[in-house]
């Protein structure tokens, strides 16, 4: 059953149970959010998405307030704008303002909303906490002096990855994101998938591997499929001056149907091998205990000859093949075809089966 409501003077219809945030966006209103994430449980805590229902004493957080029939909503009333400005000022008062060197510069919600509402400085500036976490892990930078306590990282860790490595510790203004007993990520159940980086709306969480090589907002993005395994996760290769400088998530289900942006440690952080001088660029043939570069034709001919010789001497069942989870289903199909049809052996297996 649909319900009717008026948003910024515009009448719209939405299904029963729709939250005001969705209804407002449907009506064309641009509602700012920090803690809201369409893939995570609702928190309703940042209070950035507040709107004004006519006749109500208080503002409501649109992300957690169901639309009601006959509601009249203002999304940019003077009260709403004042509340959003104060929320931003309160966040700024504890925020390490180092935008010039921040990886998130250019795609940071705090930056964008301060720009939008003309918040240049905080009237509530005072004591700041030193919450920077010098975490020795090689992947994830945790600078909680930039944290806005939206808890999206906590929810992503629990709901997307299932690791539950982090949660909120302490109370009130001292509340901060921590592992159990506030230790390092390495000593926690963290699997370094970096989903926390993916959902962080500010620069509190970032990739150590990509740090300093190009701000993601300024890099070219090339959608591609991860080569590490056959799952087929898609991600954005960050490219700068024809060089891969990072990986970021594309959370759009149309672009990233398999993983909706979620990745594992290899996909998110294991791309730096691409530019490694240690990479093999030609086949190598071992002669007298030493490898020497060879052409593909030479190497393939050599392998074929050896396999044929083994088959003639010992029969096809003396040969087996292990294929890889890193190749696709189609490639794995061809691999078993090669074994069964060309070589004549059923000895085919696959590392992912174990």
């Amino acid at each position: 059953m649909d319900i009717k409501l008026t948003i910024d003077g515009k009448e719209i219809e939405v299904p029963q149970g729709t939250m005001l945030l969705e209804a407002c966006r449907k009506a064309g209103a641009d509602i700012p959010t920090f803690c809201y994430d369409p893939d995570l449980k609702l928190a309703g805590s940042c209070r950035m998405c507040v709107v004004q229902p006519k006749g109500w004493r208080n503002l409501v957080a649109s992300c957690v307030t169901p639309a009601q029939n006959g509601m009249v909503i203002e999304t940019e009333s003077s009260d709403v704008v004042e509340a959003r400005k104060v929320v931003l000022e309160l966040m700024l008062a504890r925020h390490k303002l180092t935008c010039h060197t921040c990886e998130k510069d250019g795609e940071c919600n705090l930056q964008d909303y301060c720009y939008r509402y003309g918040v240049t400085e905080s009237r509530f500036a005072g004591k700041v906490h030193n919450l920077f976490k010098d975490d020795s892990n090689p992947f994830i930078e945790r600078d909680y002096d930039k944290c806005v306590m939206c808890t999206r990282c906590v929810r992503a860790c629990e709901e997307i990855t299932g690791a539950r490595a982090i949660n909120v510790m302490d109370r009130g203004h001292h509340a901060h994101i921590a592992t159990a007993y506030d230790g390092s990520l390495e000593d926690s159940p963290c699997v370094f998938c970096g989903q926390c980086i993916m959902v962080c709306p500010v620069g509190a969480l970032s990739s150590k591997i990509a740090a300093g090589q190009g701000k993601p907002a300024q890099n070219d993005k090339v959608m591609t499929t991860c080569t590490y395994c056959g799952t087929g996760c898609t991600f954005e290769l960050n490219v700068k001056n024809d060089k891969i400088v990072g990986v970021t998530s594309n959370r759009d289900a149309e672009w990233s149907p398999v993983n909706k942006g979620a990745l594992c440690v290899k996909g998110r952080f294991g791309w730096d091998f691409v530019n490694s001088p240690e990479r093999l660029t030609t086949p190598l043939i071992k002669e007298n205990g030493e490898f020497r570069p060879a052409s593909w034709d030479e190497a393939l001919d050599l392998a074929a000859d050896k396999i044929k010789a083994v088959k003639e001497q010992y029969g096809p069942d003396s040969i087996s093949m292990f294929s890889s989870a890193r190749i696709t289903n189609e490639e794995n199909y061809l691999a078993q075809k090669l074994m069964r049809a060309a070589i004549g052996s059923n000895n085919v297996d696959h590392c992912a089966r174990l």
Binding site: S45, R47, V50, N58, A61, E82, M149, G172, H173
Partner: protein, 406 residues
């Protein structure tokens, strides 16, 4: 009228609160018997008709609250809010220590109304001795058969003020961080372990046996029309007689202080009185002739709240007191929503500045802005109410602030 009117505390110190038999001797468990003879819907209507409103502070009609509970699912909970975290409030402890069986009976009455045999009492962490007493009282009531199938378990808080907020209390019982949930869904529909749950205060439950025994009309006829019954008040601060009283709800605040309370300590003049706990408004002496009921208090910008009455004499420094209150809220904010988490901290900073003679007019302006947004945009009642002492003293005692500025 300057006398107490004792209903809940009529037999205080004359019966053993642990003993169901003692309680039955003075007419106890008759209300439950009557309730159980009624259809749950009629029972809820009877409670609605009595006009009983929540005694924890929010003042919501108890029968109305029960009526939101759906018939299905079958698992439902009756939760007693005995967190009693408001500084200066100890009326729930008094009710338990004097008349624990009435609380148990009240919970069982509610259980019959909503179709639940599962009761929880969430007890303030600072009351371990009351927990022991309650456990004995429950054991005794179960043994006597008075409670029938209705079970009650006592859970203990760990000292967090925010756990007095009903959804934070529910989270705490579930074993989570004491953080309020956003509403809706309200507990009546989705509460403890996501099941329909009624959360009422100790005093609210304890009123029920008397409503059932004497009838809804009797109760509705006591005290103020829109908030009938009696209220247990606790007097603290600069008062001659700092103790507890049970009075009808149309009792005047002036009489609470000057009749029952014996007046301001040492014959000094009154400066202000804060009613309802730490988040209550400061009431100046010109507003003393106000009945203590919920709506009359609301009309003067105050709140009856938990029924704590904190008296301050003429020598008290309002700004210093507000500074302490700001510290309290900074400490007790759960840290979930931005206006409260950051706002209580910045309020404390600004109040410290003003209190130590380093504040400016700008600070007062900023305090007003912050208070307004905390009230309008915080997630739960804690953040919304935390600035009330500040705004009410800026309204009535602004000169005390101004004289401390640079």
């Amino acid at each position: 009228m300057t006398q107490e009117y004792r209903v809940l505390l009529e037999h205080a110190d004359k019966i053993n609160p642990e003993s169901a038999a003692d309680y039955i001797q003075v007419g106890g468990y008759k209300g439950l018997e009557k309730a159980r003879s009624m259809n749950p819907k009629d029972l809820t209507e009877e409670v609605k008709k009595s006009g009983l409103r929540g005694r924890g502070g929010a003042g919501f009609n108890a029968g109305m609250k029960w009526s939101f509970v759906p018939q299905y699912p079958e698992t439902k909970y009756v939760v007693c809010n005995f967190d009693e975290g408001e500084p200066g409030t100890y009326k729930d402890r008094i009710i338990c220590q004097k008349n624990a069986q009435a609380l148990l009976e009240g919970m069982a009455i509610c259980g019959h109304a909503i179709g639940s045999n599962n009761g929880y009492i969430y007890c303030r962490g600072e009351y371990p001795f009351v927990v022991e007493m309650l456990k004995k009282a429950i054991g005794n009531a179960k043994e006597s058969g008075a409670l029938g199938e209705f079970n009650i378990e006592v859970r203990m808080g760990a000292g967090a003020y925010v756990c007095g907020e009903e959804t934070a209390l529910i989270e705490s019982i579930e074993g989570h961080r004491g953080e309020p949930r956003f509403k809706p869904p309200f507990p009546g529909v989705e509460g403890l372990w996501r099941m329909p749950t009624v959360v009422n205060n100790v005093e609210t439950f304890a009123c029920l046996p008397y409503i059932m025994t004497n009838g809804a009309d009797w109760f509705a006829g006591i005290g103020a029309k829109s908030y009938p019954g009696t209220k247990v008040l606790t007097l603290t601060g600069d008062i001659e007689n700092p103790t507890y009283f049970e009075v009808p709800t149309d009792y005047l605040l002036r009489d609470v202080i000057y009749e029952l309370g014996g007046g301001v300590k040492g014959g000094k003049k009154l400066k202000a009185v804060q009613v309802g706990g730490t988040s209550g408004a400061f009431i100046p002496s010109q507003n003393l002739d106000t009945p203590i009921d919920f709506d009359s208090m609301g009309a003067i910008g105050a709140a009856l709240g938990s029924g704590a009455v904190f008296v301050m004499d003429e020598s008290r420094d309002i700004v210093d007191i507000i500074n302490r209150i700001a510290k309290f809220f900074e400490h007790e904010s759960c840290g979930q929503c931005t206006p409260c988490r950051e706002g209580t901290f910045r309020c404390k900073e600004i109040m410290e500045r003003i209190n130590t003679g380093r504040g400016s007019l700008k600070d007062i302006e900023n305090l007003k802005v912050l208070a307004r947004i905390m009230q309008k945009a915080s997630l739960c009642g804690l953040g919304q109410a935390a600035p009330i002492p500040i705004t009410s003293t800026l309204e009535h005692f602004e000169y005390e602030y101004l004289r401390k500025l640079v």
